[in-house]
């Protein structure tokens, strides 16, 4: 076979494979993703049964009972807050005022955290915001 034609066929096959893989990547990422929400966004738009990644700061005054935890998460800049009931591993740096990310589902007026989904800021990055 003409080497030039051979190279073109190889390039065509490689590009087709790359396009198919990229399409799979795009499709699965959109279908598997969970929406990130702040407390105020969650209060406005959360639907029952859907999971969301809630991000915000822990309001001081939470209560730990064994491995379950009831706490409120507020917007970074204050304002709205939501009540979360969570069960599972509580990360060491968890504390009032710390930033957390937790996967939640709406259950009536409160939100239930997915088991072991609570994560807190890495302890090396607690620098306070400049100018706030």
């Amino acid at each position: 076979m003409d080497p030039r034609r051979k190279r073109r066929i190889r390039l065509g096959v490689a590009l087709s494979a790359a396009v198919m893989l990229a399409a799979g990547l795009i499709y699965t990422s959109f279908s598997a993703a969970s929406d990130a929400r702040t407390p105020s966004q969650l209060l406005r738009t959360a639907e029952s049964g859907r999971s969301y990644q809630l991000t915000g700061k822990v309001v001081p005054g939470y209560r730990v009972h064994g491995d379950s935890l009831d706490f409120r998460v507020r917007d970074r800049a204050g304002g709205s807050s939501v009540l979360v009931h969570y069960t599972g591993e509580i990360p060491d740096p968890f504390k009032g005022g710390r930033e957390v990310i937790v996967t939640v589902r709406r259950s009536g007026s409160r939100f239930v955290g997915q088991r072991d989904s609570l994560i807190t800021k890495c302890p090396s990055k607690f620098s306070a915001s400049k100018g706030t």
Binding site: A32, A33, S34, D67, E89, F126
Partner: protein, 715 residues
């Protein structure tokens, strides 16, 4: 103005002046200006060493007139951690970044002071360009020498979770990796500017690329090790954006370290190599940017950082500049031998390995930046979790391990089918035996990803052993040496090759550890009272008794656990949770300890077969009434009285402990990950180590005579 601040201003003046001098010297051919540029790098390193020493000394002396010392250290912080506290701050870590950059830049320019005379001035300018950017950041936006007046009598202390030996070396390792990636980047830019796209720039910077790869890899592993043995969540990798940001340049580095060889041996992949090196350099800056921008939700991102915009601008400049430069030099980057490519050759395997590595890098990049992509497309920020990453990275990792075994078995240019069959049959048979043996020993055939990973790793290790065996046999036939001496001889004579093979063994061990611990891990969260037992992964974990202690800095509540299997004692583990006082002035003398930071001390029995990992979470909610009562009765208790009250609470916990929650994990072969890291580091060290003097003379001589000839012809 402090000495440290003055040094930073001086550094910010030296860096751009040196860069301009280098470019002017290169454009006009005036060597004295080129020398000014090179000496500027040395001067920058000297000035930044002084600045670094001033800040480090402030930490060691607990000089709280420095804001950064006050917010990240205290008088009670142990000396060892005072030394490491500097890089737990944003300002200190940026100074560390810049200092390391200046040291590595000085080293590469010193080593190439008599070679690469056309390229070095432009590379110097690029390295000083990086230094200018970071200098501007520490001078104008993140001043590590900010003073407090009046100085407080004590600081807030180093965050308790950071008090782990790994933290002493984990950040410097990562930053060394990031900064070393700028060296090949700078020389690639210089090669493109000067149109000297042959392999000379690769030969000069290959060791720096390898060192970058090694430091970054060890840094990543140290972070994982710290997470496993110190943090109470029971994992070593979470696909967090900042973790991913460190992994991406490492993957790009792995790719170019292999494709460099193809260019050196065959003159192929010039364009690919330049793109990979530029990409790795930009990804290294991107890693630093992600930590400081707050653009993505990451547990490792600095809170409230204002450095995102300058970093974004700098990265945009690097990307646009790199693309423009590559496009303008595409004719110089065409490989002359592009048509002579055999699929059954080492270069083809390296290319496949590169495609997989770049694919892996792209998948991680996509997943990491998906929140921004989804926001741009749908208007909603969404993110993908570990299962999505695992779906793509696991098959790619299996392919990579397999190709890492295949590469050494094939010859350059072309291998005949018969030759390939002869080389492959030993390692392939070994891999097959391992997989069959694992199935016979009880590994379910349904765990095909783990089996494929183990088979791939066995194949990679088998191919290295076969290559070493062949090398030793040839050496013994030539020099009549004993097998161990022959092994040392062949490694000494070809450090790059055999060092690389040892790295392959390290990677294979590491993948075995990751595969086994991910596929066969047993996790249980249980609530136990003393005397109760829980079973996990075939082990019985018995809660013997509660423990407590009151130290000068914290109150610890914990548990003694007895681990047995089939009635036989395996180990006694002690796990505790330490409670540090909060700085809230309204909290009571006892309650402040339970409102502050807390850290888990993991009870770990590590072994080559499996790790037994335990962490306790005492139910402090059950003690709240008692704590509140004491705080109400003794609101002003201090010193000995406060200690007495804390001791009373902790003893009460021991006498009548409420049920505690335990996370119990039995995870096979986690130690293989750290063992793989050690082997990888050893192999990389062998590959980086300069060749014996006699070989070096042999290699250097032609380039000397070539340069002499070139310069004579110009004269």
């Amino acid at each position: 103005m402090t000495l440290g601040r003055a040094c930073l201003f001086l550094a910010l003046a030296i860096a751009p002046i040196g860069a301009i001098a280098s470019i002017y010297g290169a454009r006009t051919g005036r060597r004295e200006w080129v020398a000014v540029g090179r000496r500027s790098v040395y001067a920058l390193a000297a000035v930044l060493t002084v600045a670094f020493a001033v800040l480090e000394s402030a930490f060691l002396r607990s000089d709280f007139s420095f804001e950064v010392v006050t917010t990240h250290s205290s008088i009670a912080t142990p000396f060892f951690y005072k030394a490491a506290a500097m890089w737990s701050s944003q300002e200190g870590s940026l100074l560390l970044w810049m200092w390391l950059l200046s040291l590595w830049s000085s080293l590469v320019l010193f080593l190439t002071r008599r070679s690469l005379r056309e390229l070095a001035p432009y590379a110097t300018a690029v390295l000083l360009g990086f230094a200018t950017f970071f200098g501007a950041l520490v001078v104008f936006m993140a001043n590590p020498f900010q003073l407090l007046d009046p100085a407080p009598s004590d600081g807030t202390g180093l965050q308790p979770l950071l008090r782990h030996p790994s933290m002493m070396i984990h950040p410097p390792m990562l930053y060394s990796g990031y900064t070393l990636f700028t060296v090949p980047f700078a020389f690639a830019v210089a090669a493109l500017i000067t149109r000297r796209t042959d392999a000379a720039w690769i030969r000069a910077t290959r060791r720096f690329g390898l060192a970058a790869w090694t430091f970054l890899g060890i840094g990543i592993l140290l972070g994982a090790r710290w997470s496993w043995s110190e943090l109470g969540w029971g994992g070593y990798w979470a696909w967090d954006p900042v973790e991913n940001a460190a992994l991406m340049p490492w993957l790009a580095g792995t790719a170019f370290l292999h494709s460099f060889m193809v260019q050196e041996k065959r003159g192929l992949l010039k364009l690919w190599n330049v793109c990979l090196v530029l990409g790795a350099g930009i990804l290294a800056i991107l890693g630093t940017f992600l930590v400081r921008s707050g653009i993505l939700q990451s547990i490792h991102a600095f809170g409230g950082s204002t450095l995102g915009k300058p970093f974004l601008g700098f990265i945009a400049l690097l990307v646009l500049g790199s693309v423009a430069l590559v496009m303008s030099r595409r004719d110089d980057l065409r490989s002359p031998e592009a048509r002579s490519y055999s699929p059954l050759s080492r270069e083809s395997i390296f290319l496949m390995n590169n495609v997989l590595l770049v694919g892996l890098c792209f998948v991680i990049f996509w997943g990491t930046f998906f929140p921004l992509i989804s926001e741009a497309v749908t208007g909603n920020k969404a993110s993908v979790g570990p299962p999505w990453f695992d779906r793509y990275t696991v098959p790619l990792a299996i392919g990579l391990v397999f190709f890492s075994g295949l590469g050494p078995l094939l010859a350059w240019r072309k291998t005949t089918l018969a030759g390939a069959r002869r080389s492959l049959q030993g390692p392939a048979l070994f891999a097959l035996v391992v997989v069959v043996l694992l199935i016979v020993l009880g590994v379910p055939a349904g765990k095909w990803t783990a089996l494929a990973l183990f088979g791939g790793a066995a194949f990679a290790i088998g191919s290295v052993v076969q290559e070493l065996w062949r090398g030793v046999s040839v050496r013994r036939a030539q020099a009549a040496e004993s097998p161990p001496v022959a092994l040392v001889s062949i490694v000494r004579r070809n450090r790059r090759r055999y060092g690389g093979y040892i790295v392959h063994v390290g990677i294979a061990l590491l993948f075995v550890g990751v595969g086994a611990s991910a596929a066969f891990q047993h996790v249980r969260d249980v609530r136990l009272s003393p005397g109760q037992t829980a079973r996990v992964g075939g082990y019985d974990v018995h809660y013997v008794r509660a423990t407590s202690s009151v130290g000068p800095e914290k109150v610890s509540l914990g548990a003694v656990l007895d681990v047995s299997k089939g009635g036989k004692h395996v180990s006694t583990l002690r796990t505790t949770r330490g409670y540090y006082p909060s700085s809230d002035p309204t909290a009571g003398p006892v309650g402040q300890y339970f409102d502050g930071d807390s850290t888990t001390e993991v009870g770990l029995k590590a072994g080559l077969r499996r790790d037994i990992w335990t962490a306790v979470q005492p139910d402090i909610g059950a003690m709240q009434k008692m704590v509140d009562g004491i705080d109400k009765r003794f609101p002003l208790a201090q010193g000995d009285t406060q200690r007495f009250l804390l001791t009373a609470v902790s003893q009460r916990y021991v006498v009548a402990p409420p049920p505690a929650v335990f996370r119990l994990i039995v995870s096979p072969m986690v130690e293989w990950i750290w063992l793989g890291g050690i082997v990888l580091g050893l192999g990389a060290l062998i590959a980086i180590w300069p060749p014996p003097r006699a070989q070096r003379r042999h290699v250097v001589a032609p380039s000397w005579s070539a340069r002499l000839g070139r310069e004579l012809s110009r004269a």
